[in-house]
């Protein structure tokens, strides 16, 4: 059965590029693209929600 992937929405208007989500993602799903965070490797996501919890700018929404 195919693994159901979550959707990670990044609101670029809110992202201030602090790197917290990129650095503390345990499976390195996110990366910086210029000044804002972006999804690099969605398949590695384990839906731990740490990026959403720690984003100080309300810029990440993870829907499992």
């Amino acid at each position: 059965m195919e693994k159901k992937l979550p959707t990670i929405e990044i609101i670029e208007k809110y992202c201030k590029g602090c790197h917290i989500c990129v650095e503390f993602c345990p499976t390195k799903v996110l990366e910086m693209q210029g000044f804002v965070a972006a999804v690099k490797n969605l398949e590695a996501c384990i839906k731990c929600m740490q990026c959403e919890l720690r984003c100080p700018d309300f810029a990440i929404k993870v829907t499992a």
Partner: protein, 272 residues
């Protein structure tokens, strides 16, 4: 499932004013989750703050909010609680606002044990006014007013609150985001004055003066110094050197102020 913060945020208020990497946003999310988990009525919840970066928080949340004079959050909140004892009153502010400029209001609110929750976001500095040292700036740290290092010892906010008579004292950090909402929710449920100190980071005015290369380094510091209360019981004093205890540090039941005041009113009525 993504938590829907939008229903608690005033439309058009985001993005907020806090700097990139500032932990205040993480604390605000924790507060919103705590309010949601307890199912508090927005119209029956007042969030009161003073002046400062952390005190901007109520402006974003769609509850009854009050943004008051510097350090006077506890005084205004006491007024709100006395007028409407059924209201949930939550205060928020920084370390400078709460323990220096509002230090007297803070200790006397603790002493009265009035049923409110004070969230102190301790980032070790006055951020908004330009990086002056606060009573929570560690000894030796640099601030705009202590360029050769701060000679003063820092306040331990939790011990100060316990000593002044607060009946619920907890501490968390901005790094341990999942713990924040649980601590705040427990503090709100506690009948009496509750203090939740959240250790925070200020990359702009504290970090860059004190050789923190990035926000990540500041967050890792919070991760390294925090020790849960239960884990600390098994550690030696040497191992606890430089560490900070997190979790619920103190909890006690004592008569609550508005209840006691209602009795005074009853007694006064009988005296006529």
């Amino acid at each position: 499932m993504a938590f829907d913060y939008d229903k608690y945020i005033r439309p058009g208020k985001l993005p907020h004013i806090w700097c990139p990497g500032c932990g205040h946003g993480i604390v605000m999310k924790g507060l919103i989750r705590a309010i949601d988990s307890l199912g508090l009525d927005k119209n029956n919840t007042a969030i009161v703050s003073g002046i400062g970066c952390a005190s901007r928080l109520p402006g974003y949340i769609d509850c009854c909010t009050l943004h008051t004079a510097h350090g006077r959050a506890a005084a205004f909140a006491t007024g709100v609680k006395m007028a409407k004892p059924e209201m949930n009153v939550i205060l928020c502010g920084g370390d400078g606002d709460g323990t220096a400029i509002g230090g007297n209001h803070f200790i006397h609110a603790c002493r009265r044990n009035i049923d409110m929750t004070y969230i102190i976001m301790n980032n070790n500095i006055y951020g908004m006014t330009g990086g002056q040292f606060s009573p929570c700036t560690p000894t030796g740290a640099k601030a705009s007013t202590t360029p050769y290092g701060n000679p003063d010892p820092a306040f331990d906010v939790a011990k100060l609150a316990i000593g002044a008579g607060a009946t619920f004292v907890a501490r968390g950090t901005a790094y341990h985001a999942t713990q924040i909402d649980k601590l705040i929710a427990e503090a709100i449920q506690h009948k009496g004055f509750s203090v939740v100190e959240i250790l925070d980071d200020c990359p702009t005015t504290y970090g860059r003066r004190n050789k923190f290369k990035s926000v990540i380094e500041m967050m890792n510091r919070l991760k390294d110094i925090a020790v849960p209360v239960k884990a600390a019981e098994k550690m030696t004093p040497e191992q606890l050197e430089g560490k900070v205890l997190t979790g619920v540090l103190y909890k006690q039941e004592k008569p609550e102020y508005t209840t006691e005041y209602a009795k005074v009113i009853e007694r006064a009525k009988g005296a006529k």
